[in-house]
C-alpha cells in the first residue's frame, strides 16, 4: 500500500515537472500554432539565469524567479519580433528558424559561460523531506507541484479573463477580422510569445535544483513538452494539465515496475498509437475552422 501511495505521489511530481515545462509550449504551439523547436532552449536559458543570479549576485532561487521570468520573456519577445514575425503563416520556415535559434542559443551560452555542467542550490527552506500520507516526499517536489498548478491558474486567467487573452483568442479565430476590429495582432503575438517563453524560463529555473544545468539540457525537455501538448490536445490548456499527469503517472509507474528505458519506450508507443486514432489529442475544444 505504502509503495502504491509512494508511486502515485512520484507520478504527480513527475507530472508537475512535465506541466511546468509544457505550459509555455501549450501557449506558443497550442494557442498560437507556432511549432517552436527552441522551447527547450528557453528552459535552458531559465536554468542558466537562475545559476547566474545565484552565482554572481548571491540571490536565492525563490527571490530570482521574477527577474528570471522577465529575462527569458524579453529574449522570447526579441525572437518573435525580429525573426518569427516575418514568417507568419509559413509553418515550415518557422520550424527551421526556431531550430536555428535554438542552436544559436545553445552555442551562445556555451561560449559565454563554458560547457561545464552547473547546478543551482535548493532553497534552504525547501531542502528537507517530509512525511506525506505515510510516505517520504521531498519538500521541494511538493513545492514544484503547487508552483505548476499556480502557474497554470495564472495562465488560464490570463487567457480567459483578461483583455490580452480575449484579443489573442480573437486573433486565433480569425486574424484579419480581429485586425479590422482594431486589435494589434503583431503586438499581441509578440506579448504572448514572450509570456510563453517566460513560462519556459521559469520551468527551467524551477527544475534546475533537481537536474543538471548544461547548454544541451533543452533537447530532452522539448520532446517531453511536445508529447504533453500533443497528447493533451492543442488549444486545450486543461488538456495539457491532464496529459502531464497521465504521462507522469504512466512513466513513473512503468519505471517502478520495469525500468526507465522500458517506460520511455512504452509511453512513446502509447502516444503514437493514440495519435493514430485520435489525431486531435485527448481533450479538444471545438473551434470553427
Amino acid at each position: 500500500m505504502d509503495q502504491f501511495v509512494q508511486q502515485i505521489v512520484t507520478g504527480l511530481s513527475i507530472g508537475s515537472i512535465l506541466l511546468l515545462v509544457a505550459l509555455g509550449l501549450s501557449i506558443i504551439y497550442g494557442s498560437m500554432g507556432i511549432i517552436n523547436l527552441a522551447h527547450g532552449e528557453f528552459v535552458m536559458l531559465g536554468a542558466y539565469a537562475a545559476w547566474t543570479f545565484q552565482h554572481y549576485f548571491g540571490l536565492g532561487l525563490l527571490e530570482s524567479l521574477v527577474p528570471i521570468f522577465l529575462v527569458v520573456a524579453i529574449c522570447g519577445w526579441l525572437i518573435e519580433r525580429y525573426v518569427l514575425s516575418f514568417l507568419n503563416n509559413r509553418p515550415l520556415d518557422t520550424i527551421l528558424a526556431t531550430w536555428g535559434v535554438g542552436i544559436i542559443l545553445q552555442q551562445a551560452v556555451r561560449l559565454l559561460v563554458g560547457g561545464e555542467l552547473r547546478y543551482v542550490q535548493l532553497p534552504a527552506s525547501l531542502s528537507d523531506s517530509t512525511e506525506l500520507l505515510g510516505v517520504q516526499v521531498s519538500v521541494y517536489r511538493i513545492f514544484l507541484f503547487f508552483a505548476a498548478l499556480t502557474l497554470f491558474a495564472l495562465t488560464w486567467l490570463l487567457m480567459n479573463r483578461t483583455m490580452v487573452g480575449m484579443k489573442l483568442r480573437a486573433i486565433i479565430q480569425d486574424r484579419s477580422i480581429a485586425a479590422c476590429f482594431g486589435v494589434n495582432a503583431r503586438r499581441i503575438y509578440a506579448l504572448t510569445f514572450a509570456y510563453g517563453a517566460g513560462l519556459a524560463g521559469l520551468a527551467g529555473a524551477l527544475v534546475s535544483p533537481l537536474k543538471s544545468v548544461s547548454p544541451e539540457m533543452g533537447t530532452g525537455y522539448v520532446v517531453d513538452a511536445f508529447m504533453v501538448v500533443v497528447l493533451g490536445g492543442v488549444q486545450s490548456l486543461a488538456g495539457t494539465v491532464f496529459s502531464s499527469f497521465i504521462l507522469g503517472e504512466l512513466s513513473g509507474g512503468i519505471a517502478f515496475l520495469e525500468n526507465d528505458t522500458v517506460a520511455k519506450t512504452i509511453v512513446l508507443l502509447a502516444i503514437v498509437v493514440l495519435i493514430r486514432f485520435r489525431p486531435e489529442g485527448l481533450f479538444t475544444t471545438r473551434v470553427r475552422a
Partner: protein, 415 residues
C-alpha cells in the same frame, strides 16, 4: 527496366558506395607509415570540445595540452618540438572516426591522444588498426579489448573493483543495488562486480539501467527505498550522475545508511553537482586530486596556473597528463629518423614513469597500465578524502570477467 537518368545515377552511386565499403584497399592505397620529420613530432589531440561529452573532454584536452607545453618548454624531445594537432570530434562517434583518419592519414601524426567514451574509441579503432598507428586512451573503461594499436592508461574493472567491492561488503553489508546508464560500460562493470559479489558473499538485489542523459530518478529512488540495499553501486555517467545525486539528497536518503559507491564520480562531476550533494558517497579510482605526492602537487599547481584556479584535476585528466610523458619517454629512446607508431609502441612496452598517482608501468603483454587503486569518500568541499590506498600497484587484467581469455602480445588467446 529501362535506364532512366535517375536510376542510372542511383545505381552508380550505390555501386560506388558498395565498392568503397567492400574493397577499400583497391581504391585507397595504403600509403607509408606516419613518421616524424623536420624537427617536429606531430601528435593528434582528439577530445570533443562541443556536444554532450565536451563537459568532461574539455578537461582531457587541457591536461594533454598542458603536458605537451611543459615538454616543449623543457626543450622538447631531443631538440624536437611536439606539435599538437587539435581536432574537435563534437561528441559524435562518426566524426571521431573521420577526424582520426584526417589526423593519421592527412596530418601524418605518429600518435593520437583521445576519446572519453567507449563508443568513440570503438569508432576510431579500425582507423588505427588499418593504418597501424597508435591511439592513447586515458579513460577508465570496461576492459574486454585487446588491440595492439591502443595504449590504455585508464583503469580496467579489476583495478577499480578488486579492493572496492570486498571493502564495501565488509563496511556496509552484502546487499548491492546496481544502477547504471544503459550502454556497454556499466553492463561490463556490473558483470565483473557480480563475480566479485559471488566470491565474497554479496548479493545483487536489483540491476537497473537508465537511458543515457536520463534525469528523472524518482521511481528509481522509490525502488531503492523499498529494496533497502546496503550499497548502491553506481555506474551512471554524464549529467545523469548530477541528477541522481541531487534527487537522492532531496528525497532525504542518508549516505551513512545507504551510500552510493561509484566508479565514475570524480572531482569533475562533484563540481557539477555541488559538494553537499556528493558528500558521504564513495568512489574507487587510481587518482584523486587530494592525493599527496610531490608529482601531484606539481601537476595540480601547473594545471590550475595554466587553466584557472577554480579548475579541478581528476582520474581521467591525470592519465592524459602522464600518458603524454610516457609518449615522450618512448620517443626519446628512438633514433630521430625512426619515429613511427610501431617503434613508439615497442619503446613504450614496459615503460615506467612517476605519475601523480604513483609509479605506473605499461604492461608489455596487453598495453594496459599498472595503477594504484584508491578508495575515497566525497566531502562537502568538493574534494575527496582518501580512505584506503592500495599497498601495491595492481596489474591490469582486461579480461578479468572472462576466464580463459587472456590478452597477450600476439592478440587475444582463448583457452
Amino acid at each position: 527496366m529501362s535506364i532512366t537518368r535517375r536510376s542510372l545515377v542511383k545505381n552508380a552511386a550505390a555501386f560506388g558506395a558498395f565498392a568503397g565499403a567492400g574493397f577499400p584497399h583497391v581504391w585507397i592505397k595504403n600509403t607509408d607509415l606516419a613518421v616524424a620529420a623536420n624537427g617536429e613530432i606531430r601528435v593528434g589531440v582528439l577530445f570533443s570540445l562541443t556536444g554532450t561529452t565536451a563537459i568532461i573532454e574539455e578537461s582531457l584536452n587541457k591536461a594533454t595540452i598542458l603536458a605537451i607545453e611543459e615538454i616543449n618548454a623543457a626543450g622538447g624531445i631531443k631538440g624536437m618540438k611536439i606539435v599538437p594537432v587539435v581536432e574537435d570530434p563534437a561528441s559524435d562517434p562518426a566524426t571521431f572516426s573521420e577526424k582520426a583518419r584526417k589526423l593519421v592519414v592527412g596530418d601524418k601524426c605518429v600518435s593520437v591522444f583521445g576519446s572519453y567514451t567507449s563508443a568513440s574509441r570503438k569508432a576510431v579503432l579500425p582507423v588505427f588498426e588499418r593504418q597501424n598507428n597508435l591511439y592513447w586512451y586515458p579513460t577508465l573503461y570496461e576492459g574486454r579489448e585487446c588491440s595492439k594499436n591502443v595504449i590504455y592508461t585508464g583503469a580496467v574493472p579489476n583495478q577499480q573493483q578488486d579492493e572496492f567491492v570486498p571493502w564495501l561488503i565488509k563496511k556496509f553489508g552484502p546487499k548491492f543495488y546496481m544502477i547504471g546508464s544503459n550502454y556497454i560500460y556499466p553492463k561490463e562493470e556490473n558483470n565483473y562486480c557480480k563475480k566479485l559479489l559471488a566470491k565474497h558473499g554479496g548479493e545483487v538485489v536489483a540491476e537497473e539501467y537508465v537511458p543515457l542523459g536520463h534525469s528523472e530518478f524518482s521511481s528509481v529512488i522509490n525502488k531503492m527505498r523499498s529494496a533497502q540495499p546496503n550499497v548502491i553501486f553506481s555506474t551512471v555517467v554524464g549529467d545523469s550522475v548530477v541528477a541522481l545525486h541531487r534527487q537522492y539528497r532531496a528525497a532525504g536518503l542518508d549516505p551513512e545508511k545507504m551510500p552510493m559507491a561509484s566508479l565514475t564520480t570524480s572531482e569533475n562531476e562533484i563540481a557539477a553537482m555541488g559538494g553537499e550533494a556528493a558528500a558521504g558517497h564513495f568512489t574507487s579510482a587510481p587518482y584523486f586530486q587530494v592525493h599527496k605526492s610531490p608529482e601531484n602537487e606539481k601537476f595540480v599547481a601547473a594545471y590550475q596556473k595554466r587553466w584557472g584556479a577554480d579548475k579541478v584535476t581528476h582520474f581521467v585528466s591525470e592519465s592524459c597528463y602522464f600518458q603524454t610523458y610516457l609518449f615522450k619517454q618512448a620517443v626519446e629512446k628512438l633514433a630521430a629518423s625512426d619515429i613511427t607508431p610501431p617503434t613508439i609502441r615497442d619503446a613504450v612496452k614496459g615503460a615506467e614513469t612517476i605519475a601523480p598517482q604513483g609509479k605506473v608501468r605499461i604492461e608489455a603483454a596487453n598495453l594496459h597500465t599498472w595503477l594504484w587503486p584508491k578508495i575515497a569518500q566525497a566531502k562537502s568541499n568538493g574534494q575527496f578524502e582518501i580512505l584506503v590506498q592500495s599497498s601495491a600497484w595492481l596489474e591490469p587484467v582486461p579480461y578479468a570477467a572472462y576466464p580463459g581469455q587472456v590478452c597477450t602480445e600476439k592478440g587475444l588467446s582463448q583457452t
